[in-house]
């Protein structure tokens, strides 16, 4: 059970991180929000994106220890990015909302893991 919570947290964080990096780009920002990003938004999304991707290492390390966790992290990065890229053209707003929801959900999952440990 613990491991599944960590797995979903890592996957959602990677997806959310990729979504955030994606929204930092003019083309995709426009695709989702129908306007060009202001400089601050571009910067903010970029920082948030890298932060979320880095944070995803944490549940991976909780589930498998750091050495295996990093390998799993690479897998989640790919899986999260693939999901985003093939979702984005069919439902840009939905893809972005899923990313936002993913941040909240993953933090909640990590909290549950910490509390129940």
């Amino acid at each position: 059970m613990q491991i599944m919570l960590n797995v979903f947290a890592a996957l959602l964080l990677c997806y959310a991180g990729m979504t955030s990096l994606c929204l930092a780009m003019d083309r995709h920002h426009n695709q989702v929000l129908k306007r060009a990003p202001v400089a601050a938004a571009r910067k903010g999304f970029r920082w948030a994106g890298w932060l979320l991707l880095a944070l995803a290492v944490v549940p991976c390390a909780w589930a498998w220890g750091l050495s295996i966790g990093v390998i799993a992290w690479f897998g989640f990065l790919s899986a999260g990015a693939l999901a985003l890229v093939f979702l984005l053209p069919y439902g840009p707003r939905f893809a972005a909302m899923l990313g936002a929801g993913g941040v909240a959900a993953s933090l909640l999952l990590m909290l549950i893991v910490k509390v129940s440990a």
Binding site: M25, W64, S67, I68, F76, S78, A79, L82, V85
Partner: protein, 546 residues
């Protein structure tokens, strides 16, 4: 040769990859199925035919079992190349014995009652190549050393294609998240790029570690020269284990194995799992006893042993003891072990296997989209690379695409049907399974070369979809088992195989509908085209992928 570096890389990427794309697709597709070889083998052995152990059976006595196994083997195979014995445990309460009289003879196996020694005959499990078929397919095409070399060359081509692909891909960061569906050639290129860029770390890792895993075959010269071709000795040395012992041709009885089990368990502090004796009956006999691993511990590490003890099987003297978690060998061997573990996913449990499955299928899809893109581009605007025979070469590439991609998928799911339909009692059954798999694959090639390309795609995709979706049905009809019953008894492996097959079947229907829509639209679109905004996109694609 082309003018710029990028143009020559583009030429290399296109023409270098094309001829290997179908081999590599087969390697990726079957290798990815091979991630779940245990689950597939479990399904194929027909779990219902094997009587399940009831819960009230007392835990079997390993020492008693070792004694019974030894008595049986001494009687039935007094002088063998090797004996081995799988000791009973709570999951499998039978004692399993295996032996081979000499390297040319066949492997023998029996299931024994671990208390009475009653011979239950060869294993009741359906004799099958199981999931190993896919594993073997992906590194040797069932062609032995020739196959290993073929796959090795293809793997090197793949590494070249990955690097040249990165060079060719001008907008790797700008297009990082870009997929534009419904735009023909542009969409194929987008998906080819997205699949490869987003899983690039995995693709490099899996190909590179795959080549490294066979280093002793691809680059044997050092060991050949240093050890006079004796690779067993070479491996014993790098693993820091005692050297293999030469047969002495002097008769000597094997010491009581139950005593060795007690000694080994005392030394390591874990339960014995497996016993292996080489040249029993000879004075050179040695035995190695392997211990059970701790699953949680195995999931969180890349390398390290579960513990084992090697004995002089005549005197009973301990020759070597490897403690759980112990790492043998120097840095190079350690690195080698880690790379093997990375390739074979021996760590991390089911989650990591699924990540490998996703990334591996993405790799297969990358190869498929690449070779389809080659033809999509040329169908629209023939490049005339082969002069007068260009059309014929394109036709061959088209047919190989259909049979190499859809045909292989059809033959792979067909293999599951073959497993259920080939009579269980047929001699050499495993050979028939493999033979029929290749026959089916060959038939898809015949079909692909006879049918118009688009019809070929649609028919083979529909065929694959049907075989996938009806897999539970054929299972009910032949064995009485199905995924619902499997789920009810907590057999996630059997259920997982059928559920995954059905999900794949649905994807094939989506793919077939897609091809159908395209083949209906294409003639109309060609007429309506000329000077539409699409032309700008096309020019862009041409410039990029030229």
């Amino acid at each position: 040769m082309k003018n710029t570096f990028r143009q020559s890389m583009s030429w290399l990427h296109t023409w270098g990859s094309l001829w290997f794309a179908w081999i590599l697709f087969a390697v990726f597709f079957t290798g990815t199925l091979g991630v779940f070889d245990d689950a597939i083998s479990h399904w194929m052995r027909d779990p219902l035919a094997v009587t399940a152990a009831s819960d009230d059976t007392p835990p079997p006595d390993r020492l008693q079992a070792a004694k019974i196994g030894q008595a049986f083997l001494e009687k039935n195979a007094p002088k063998a190349e090797f004996w081995s014995m799988g000791l009973p445990n709570e999951d499998n309460t039978k004692l399993r014995v295996f032996w081979r009289d000499n390297p040319q003879a066949e492997f023998q196996n029996r299931e024994l009652d671990p208390v009475t020694g009653e011979d239950a005959g060869p294993s009741k499990e359906r004799k099958t190549e199981g999931g190993h078929h896919f594993v073997h397919m992906h590194f040797e095409f069932h062609a032995g050393d020739a196959g290993i070399w073929l796959v090795g060359v293809a793997a090197m081509v793949m590494l070249v294609a990955l690097v040249s692909g990165i060079v060719v891909h001008k907008k790797i960061f700008v297009d990082f998240f870009t997929f534009r569906p419904g735009k023909g050639q542009r969409s194929w290129l987008d998906s080819h790029n997205a699949l490869s860029v987003l899983t690039l770390p995995f693709q490099f890792m899996i190909v590179y570690t795959g080549v490294v895993a066979f280093a002793s075959i691809y680059m044997p010269s050092a060991a050949m020269v240093r050890y006079n071709g004796d690779l067993d000795h070479f491996f014993a040395d790098i693993q820091e284990r005692p050297a293999p012992r030469q047969v002495k041709h002097v008769d000597a009885p094997v010491a009581p194995l139950d005593g060795l089990v007690t000694a080994a368990e005392g030394r390591i502090g874990r339960e014995a799992r497996f016993i292996s004796v080489s040249h029993p009956g000879d004075a050179s006999a040695s035995a190695r006893i392997f211990m059970r691993g701790d699953e949680a511990e195995m999931a969180s590490r890349l390398r390290g042993s579960n513990g084992s003890v090697q004995f002089d099987a005549v005197s009973g003297e301990i020759l070597d003891a490897e403690m759980p978690g112990e790492i043998r060998g120097a840095g190079a061997f350690s690195t080698f072990q880690s790379m093997r573990a990375l390739h074979f996913v021996t760590f991390g449990g089911y989650t990591i296997k699924w990540l490998y499955f996703i990334c591996g299928m993405a790799g297969a899809a990358m190869l498929a989209t690449g070779s389809i893109l080659f033809m999509v581009k040329r169908r629209k605007k023939p490049a005339g690379e082969f002069g007068a025979s260009t059309a014929r070469v394109y036709r061959v590439v088209d047919a190989l695409n259909v049979a190499g991609i859809a045909g292989l998928m059809l033959a792979s799911v067909g293999y599951f049907w073959i497993n259920r339909l080939v009579p269980a009692a047929l001699p050499e059954r495993e050979g028939w399974e493999i033979g029929l798999f290749f026959a089916l694959w060959f038939l898809t090639l015949v079909h692909a070369s006879l049918r118009p390309t688009m019809r070929g795609w649609i028919e083979q995709l529909i065929g694959t979809a049907f075989l996938c979706l009806a897999l539970p049905l054929i299972n009910v009809l032949t064995t009485g088992d199905n995924f619902i019953a499997a789920l009810a008894r907590g057999d996630g492996e059997s259920a997982g195989v059928e559920l995954t097959a059905m999900a794949s079947g649905l994807l094939c229907i989506v793919a077939a509908r897609f091809v159908h829509r395209k083949s209906v639209q294409a003639p109309q679109a060609a007429k309506a085209k000329a000077g539409k905004p699409d032309a700008a996109v096309d020019a862009d694609v041409e410039a990029e992928a030229a």
